[in-house]
Point group: C2
Chain length 413, copies 2
Amino acid sequence: MEKLTGACIIGQSGGPTAVINASAQGVIQTALKADCITRVLGAAHGIKGVLEDKLYDMSQEDPAELELLKHTPSSALGSCRYKLADPDVDDSDYKRILEIFQKYNVRYFFYNGGNDSMDTCNKISKYMQKVGYQCRIMGVPKTIDNDLNGTDHCPGFASAAKYIATSCAEVWQDAHVYDTGMVTVIEIMGRHAGWLAGSAALANLTGCGPDLVYLPEVDFDMEQFIADVTAIYNKTGKCMVAVSEGIHYADGRFVSEAETSATDGFGHAQLGGLAVKLADIIKQKTGAKVRGIELSLLQRCASHCASKTDIDEAWLAGSAAVEAAVSGVTDKMVAFKCTREGGYKCETSLEPLDIVANFEKKVPREWINKAGNGVEQPFIDYVLPLIQGESNQPKENSLPRFARLKKVLTTQM
Amino acid sequence: MEKLTGACIIGQSGGPTAVINASAQGVIQTALKADCITRVLGAAHGIKGVLEDKLYDMSQEDPAELELLKHTPSSALGSCRYKLADPDVDDSDYKRILEIFQKYNVRYFFYNGGNDSMDTCNKISKYMQKVGYQCRIMGVPKTIDNDLNGTDHCPGFASAAKYIATSCAEVWQDAHVYDTGMVTVIEIMGRHAGWLAGSAALANLTGCGPDLVYLPEVDFDMEQFIADVTAIYNKTGKCMVAVSEGIHYADGRFVSEAETSATDGFGHAQLGGLAVKLADIIKQKTGAKVRGIELSLLQRCASHCASKTDIDEAWLAGSAAVEAAVSGVTDKMVAFKCTREGGYKCETSLEPLDIVANFEKKVPREWINKAGNGVEQPFIDYVLPLIQGESNQPKENSLPRFARLKKVLTTQM
């Protein structure tokens, strides 16, 4: 294999997670040590930073601050939601990327993101091959949704799952404090895949978890939902429900959108989150005291409650991407191959970008119970090893001490 | 002082906190060791458990499980929101309480709660004095709202404050990830006092905190609010706002209630939380992308993010109540006297129940900035020592390991 010498770019893309910066750290720290990588550049706001020639010189950062990236949520380099055009239709972005790559002699490109980011990687890789510019392009996965194909699981998912399970267990305690009736509905992210909503069921391992869990993999039936909740509420005086934001009716309409016309007791149209809407519907049907709680952004940035396993694996994914690229690999995403029997083990593998991109991995139907309102043991067995270990986030004033990067824009070619 | 021998009852009342069980633990562990306390009874759901003769025998609990109460949120014995009548109008509840006290020879009564609970303590104490039944009655404070009079601060407040500051810092990171505009509104508990909302400003110590903070101590002006947000948004492209749920107009109307008629872009009436409403108003005025986040129950039960200082002080308050009662004190609430100069120090004191009850302690106006949209340094200096130290919550499967009490109802007199 030919040794390829030049600069590298690391970019972050898509929605943030608690550990995407651990992956960036894995790339940066490994790249800074690699002989054939002459410079490590961070793209400001992902591919937009490349297009706009806004690149940070990562060698100028204090190594102690880079170390803190492991415990800093969201994308430290900035993120974007920029979709590259089909190069056969419009190749202007690709020409510009090539120009920047040539300007800085970029020979390694690491892109840290979800489905769309892997698609971006794939398109850039194909274009560079077509025009004969030698550059090794690697995807580093991240997404709290855990819907990436070709990998056992995805960095970012486990920390969100741990936060969700922890919060559900705590809210359960709160919701059971009075001897009066109470229905709690907790809304969890995941538009098309129910990995996160299902993870709420982990809270049941503490003895305090949701009675019902609804995933978008199963068509939602409002009558059945009301019957499910009412049965438990009538029996115990309480009911705790976890719902994915992406639950939808059989005809495909999201419940969150279809139910905007629900009205409260005063005849007002009820907007706001799905949790509030469902809680309101239950209130009308049962007269129960209800509480709708949306975990919102909290669930994807809760670095204080991150999984150590997730942090370590996120770092590993970034580091493995650099090692593979340096050894000659290109056009691949780092993935995880895991075994759970006889103790959890996780190793990296390399998967073709085109089998990863643009395909959403769903929760298998057989991991969801027959009634479609809970998860089965195989789901728990799958997720539980991933949330293990505490983050031990460094603190200052007993508050999180996040990385403070200088972000020195490079002017040098 | 005459030695008073008999049983004790511990009850919990009002909204839960992350550390109210640490206070119960302080009472129970200290009472179990006290020679003159013959039995330690836990009231199921506060004073309701007394009225209904539902009392748990705490000596039957596994000491290791009692130890876990320190890290178990919400009220382990169950809580209530039961208001005793004026005994001059209706003394039936008081007669029943006396009957139960006599039945079990209860000579010590510890009540763990907020304003209303101190009022309950005070009324029971006065009644027992009136009828000549010797019983020492002590209040053990708790409330996340921190609005109890007669004490430097209140157990429960600091852990909620720490969770709020931590979450605000994390959400700030998330809200600053794209190079596009974003306004985030975070809604925080505290109907009449802004201690919790103000604590969001602690996040600024991490470099990542709210730009604006609105407390109920200052009349809210919607035009000024819009101007405040717009000015920051226009300058930086971002704005993060923390608001107390209790903000109100000069005429006293809560903004959360007065603004139910706000409409979204489709002309739908906008209900749901205050955060969503304010975010919607900003969206209409500025066109900014907005996100309203309600911290809801999460902020009062987040034991995984509790302050060690708060846990320790909550335990101390319970323990000090028992020690004081055993030594002859009655009709008092345990309070904190603190010094902050030359290092934080906290000692317990004993305050008359009647100066504590039915008075809400507000944030001093001079601790809020002149514009009424932020807090001043004295506020930070006041809160910061209280949130110090990590909870180091015991885990099982990397999830919280809460106390599992047997709750054996006593049948024995």
